[in-house]
């Protein structure tokens, strides 16, 4: 009995242990509320009520657009409707040079006095030159609109352009070009140059060599011709009524004399139809930068919103196909995105990616494959809806800062875009479906884009010799030579 008992005891212990372990392992984890288990549904989509843009014209032809908005500062944008595309062919960069000189003084007012006046009103200035227009943005405390417009009037009607400031601005522009060896910057520049080859937009990118040729005389001629109220728009966003804004601007800017202007017509640039691979060297860079782009025709509203949805699916964000494929799945890239830039006559669509050098060739192939797949096949509905949901959710987020908000309106005013790009954004996105994207891209020549690669030539050239022909450029965009594939390789782009 005793033995039996002993046996029984020794037999039961492991069973209990196993049972204990089993129960421990299979017992439910700590209970939680049901609502924690899955993500909640969103509320209904809120309305997007964008403020109206009220426009009037002064007697000298200056168009004033006012966007009343309660905020403690005013965002004011002067748009000169001439950009780099109207610089003389032998002097690309003249439009940028002229724009950069505007805040550098007036008669009786030095450059540093201008700066002091801007800072006195709590202000900040930025100057941008695009192919189609030049943009001068000033943000300042709302009580100082009169002072800001008065200063603008002094600069526009009594420009000084002292020799000293001319030299300073030329020196700054020169060093900015030669010191900026950022591979992304150089890649975008080269892409622009190749895509807009022989089109007036090509002048948007210029090299340091041209700076020496820019003279004060050129500047005065350009200024006199284009810095005229009948070639300008003034956009004022802030806590001010349109009538107040017009009254203040009329008081100061009516002195600005209009002048008859020649009409310049710029034809839309054609899309690239022959594929091209270009390379520029930036020594000691460990990764390669890729730009792949082409021109999209700027036609009507629906096409533009189809482009946006297409872009979102391809590379608009971290959840788009390019990022997921090249970075998350294949591990080729650090990042890969796509983007659309708007111009008066076209839209520029491009992909940009930073990739590990050894994966340069397959990365380019993958990007081209993704583009082709999106154009040749109807995009599944769920992907279209996902992209639309992103775009609708992202729109208010990307204009939540007043500076982004006002820049978007300035682009719309400068490019004469209809207000449909503003107030009806949600509706226009919702209208897009798989068929509309498919149909839009059937009429677009997009399958032969320009490919630009930036990297260290000692490393990168080895990885792109698979391509039939590669054009080599220096950092200033000057063509150097062509690298041709050896006869035995037959890979094609």
């Amino acid at each position: 009995m005793k033995i039996k008992k002993r046996k029984s005891k020794s037999f039961n212990l492991p069973i209990l242990l196993v049972l204990f372990v089993f129960l421990f392992l299979t017992s439910p984890v700590e209970a939680q509320e049901k609502f924690r288990k899955s993500p909640p549904l969103p509320y209904p989509l809120p309305d997007l009520n964008m403020p109206a843009i009220e426009t009037s014209t002064l007697s000298n032809g200056l168009q004033i657009s006012v966007v009343p908005k309660q905020q403690p500062y005013i965002d004011m944008h002067l748009i000169i409707m001439t950009g780099e595309s109207l610089s003389p062919d032998h002097l690309p960069g003249l439009a940028s040079f002229t724009a950069n000189m505007l805040f550098k003084g007036a008669v009786g007012l030095s450059s540093s006095q201008v700066q002091e006046q801007i800072e006195f009103i709590g202000g900040d200035v930025s100057v941008r030159t695009y192919p189609d227009y030049s943009l001068f943005s000033i943000t300042f405390l709302k009580d100082y609109l009169s002072e800001a417009v008065k200063l603008l009037s002094d600069l526009l009607t009594q420009p000084d352009f002292s020799k000293n400031e001319v030299n300073n601005v030329k020196r700054d522009m020169f060093y900015e070009i030669i010191r900026n060896t950022n591979p992304e910057h150089l890649g975008r520049k080269l892409l622009f140059q190749i895509i807009f080859n022989n089109h007036p937009y090509e002048k948007y990118v210029f090299n340091s060599g041209v700076i020496k040729r820019l003279t004060r005389k050129d500047l005065l001629t350009f200024f006199d011709k284009f810095y005229r109220p009948n070639n300008a728009k003034l956009l004022i966003i802030g806590d001010i009524s349109p009538s107040q804004a017009v009254s203040i601007t009329e008081q100061h800017l009516s002195l600005w004399q209009k002048k008859s202007l020649e009409t310049y017509h710029i034809n839309p640039p054609p899309a690239i139809t022959k594929p091209k691979i270009c390379f520029t060297d930036v020594s000691n860079t460990e990764e390669a930068i890729i730009f792949i782009g082409n021109i999209l025709p700027h036609k009507d509203t629906e096409d533009h919103f189809s482009y946006l949805v297409f872009n979102q699916i391809l590379g608009g964000s971290h959840i788009s196909r390019l990022f997921m494929n090249l970075r998350e799945t294949k591990g080729y890239a650090y990042w890969a995105f796509s983007n659309i830039e708007l111009f008066k006559n076209c839209e520029l669509f491009y992909v940009k990616a930073k990739v590990k050098t050894e994966y340069l060739y397959p990365s380019i192939k993958e990007i081209l494959k993704e583009i082709r797949s999106l154009i040749e096949n109807k995009i599944p509905n769920h992907e279209i809806e996902q992209a639309k949901s992103y775009l609708i959710g992202h729109f208010p987020v990307k204009i939540s800062e007043h500076s982004d908000f006002s820049l978007r309106i300035s682009e719309m005013v400068a490019l004469d875009m209809k207000e449909i790009y503003w107030g009806n954004y949600y509706e226009n996105i919702m209208y897009i479906n798989s068929n509309s994207v498919f149909n839009t891209f059937q009429n677009v020549n997009f399958l032969n884009p320009v490919v630009v690669v930036v990297g260290d030539k000692d490393v990168v050239l080895d990885y792109i010799k698979e391509f039939e022909e590669v054009e080599i450029y220096n950092n200033e965009g000057v063509f150097q030579y062509k690298l041709k594939k050896e006869a035995q390789n037959n890979s094609q782009l």
């Binding site: 924690r36 993500p39 909640p40 969103p42 509320y43 809120p46 900040d124 992103y390 959710g393 208010p396």
Partner: protein
């Protein structure tokens, strides 16, 4: 103001919403309207409505930063910041980010000396999703050996990259060590590689269970919200989360923060440009002197018409780079200058010129015009700090976690704008003395 102060203040107020007896309120009108509530588990809630655009920012801050770290465990806070994205009970690793990205939102996180902050801005109809995500990681962060080790390795790589790429890191570390005399204030937020290596899963779990709990957190929601509806949602997702049982006191400086003279030369063979760092210890960032000191910061360093920009860069072209200003670390403040120059000779002239500008401010009153200019630049910056839902949420959290009485926030701007020219002279003489910290950076 701390949580206790808020609760005490609220006892005298009526409860606001029926059915939410645990919610109490402070209402502030200036510089914009906002309300503060607290849940029974200690979670502080700040809400501010702004219906300009249909979007909302949700920011959640925990009162723990690098100053709370023990010796030998530096980098712990930043490690936790990263682990907060590695999944929780109902949200997979990195899914928090994916959820926000899918709806077109933006997110970010930051670790400072006194807080760790997570924030996201999304379309306002997606508020429930963000609260679900934020509550899940506060309630049940997934901490295991694999994700802790993976994140540690990632951060150690970041530290190595920072050491390699930031050519002036060594001089900065030395500068901070001399300016801030105590360990909590003077170690790098990213931490030390060896310390990070030694952090165990248990350390991380203890740290999370101590600090990442509702009674050590502030949840701030700004933008297109309905307060009552939002409070209901917050209650649903947060009120059953257990509070921390033992939150250590916030670090505070006990010693004498008077300036001592220190001079040091650092040879940096990796840089071609010589430079110097010059630093002064100030009074507490919550003293009246701080408002005056801020105006001095703007006078010297803000804008192209500032005194040092004009003297060192525009007029004499002595500096290739010039930056600095007041720096606050919890209850301490210092004034820093960092100048890089073309060569040793221009560096010496730059240093003398900088000191000469300081001396000028000690001996002569600035003009009304210049003082008003400085105040307008400051005012524009100050207002800009709260003029989008995201900036407003960060502004509210920053002020709530400071020692400023949040109920007086509306009067803060005026304290800066009331600074007089004579007060500037007084403060210059009090703090900008010979007893400063100077680090010379030589290229050979």
């Amino acid at each position: 103001m701390n949580l206790k102060k808020i609760v005490l203040f609220c006892l005298g107020l009526n409860f606001v919403f029926n059915g939410f007896s645990q919610v109490k309120q402070i209402e502030v009108q200036e510089p914009f309207h906002f309300s503060i509530y607290s849940l029974k588990n200690g979670l502080t809630i700040i809400l501010s409505e702004d219906h300009t655009l249909p979007l909302v920012t949700v920011a959640c801050a925990y009162k723990v930063g690098s100053a709370y770290e023990e010796k030998g465990k530096t980098g712990m806070t930043y490690l936790l910041e990263n682990l907060m994205f590695m999944g929780s009970r109902n949200v997979g690793p990195m899914q928090h980010i994916r959820f926000i990205q899918r709806i077109g939102g933006e997110f970010n996180a930051l670790t400072s000396w006194d807080k760790t902050l997570f924030y996201q801005t999304v379309s306002s109809n997606q508020l429930p999703l963000v609260l679900w995500l934020e509550s899940d990681r506060m309630n049940s962060l997934n901490l295991n050996y694999a994700n802790v080790e993976e994140t540690k390795n990632l951060l150690m790589e970041m530290i190595r990259t920072q050491k390699k790429e930031d050519l002036f890191l060594k001089s900065l570390q030395e500068f901070d060590r001399l300016l801030y005399p105590e360990f909590p204030y003077n170690h790098l937020i990213l931490g030390n590689e060896e310390d990070l290596k030694s952090i165990t899963l248990k350390d991380v779990r203890d740290f999370y269970n101590t600090f990442y709990k509702p009674n050590n957190a502030v949840l701030c929601i700004t933008g297109d919200i309905d307060q009552e509806k939002t409070l209901r949602l917050i209650k649903r997702y947060f009120h059953t989360i257990d509070p921390s049982k033992n939150i250590p006191l916030a670090p505070s400086f006990k010693g004498d923060f008077k300036q001592e003279k220190h001079e040091k030369i650092i040879i940096n063979k990796n840089v071609s440009t010589p430079g110097f760092r010059l630093g002064y210890r100030l009074d507490s960032p919550y003293s009246n002197d701080f408002y005056i000191m801020t105006m001095i910061d703007y006078l010297l360093l803000h804008g192209e018409s500032s005194r040092l920009y004009k003297r060192l860069i525009e007029r004499n072209k002595l500096a290739l780079m010039l930056n600095g200003g007041i720096e606050k670390r919890i209850d301490l403040a210092v004034f820093k200058f960092f100048v890089l120059s073309n060569n040793e000779a221009t560096k010496e002239i730059a240093k003398k010129s900088l000191l000469s500008e300081i001396n000028k401010l000690k001996s002569s009153l600035i003009s009304n015009r210049e003082l008003n200019k400085v105040k307008n630049i400051f005012k524009a910056d100050y207002i800009d700090n709260y003029y989008s839902p995201e900036k407003r949420a960060l502004f509210l959290i920053r002020n709530y976690l400071s020692k400023i009485d949040i109920r007086d926030l509306g009067g803060e701007l005026d304290k800066y704008l009331n600074v007089s020219a004579s007060e500037i002279v007084g403060i210059m003489n009090r703090y900008f003395t010979e007893n400063n910290v100077l680090i010379e950076i030589k290229s050979k």
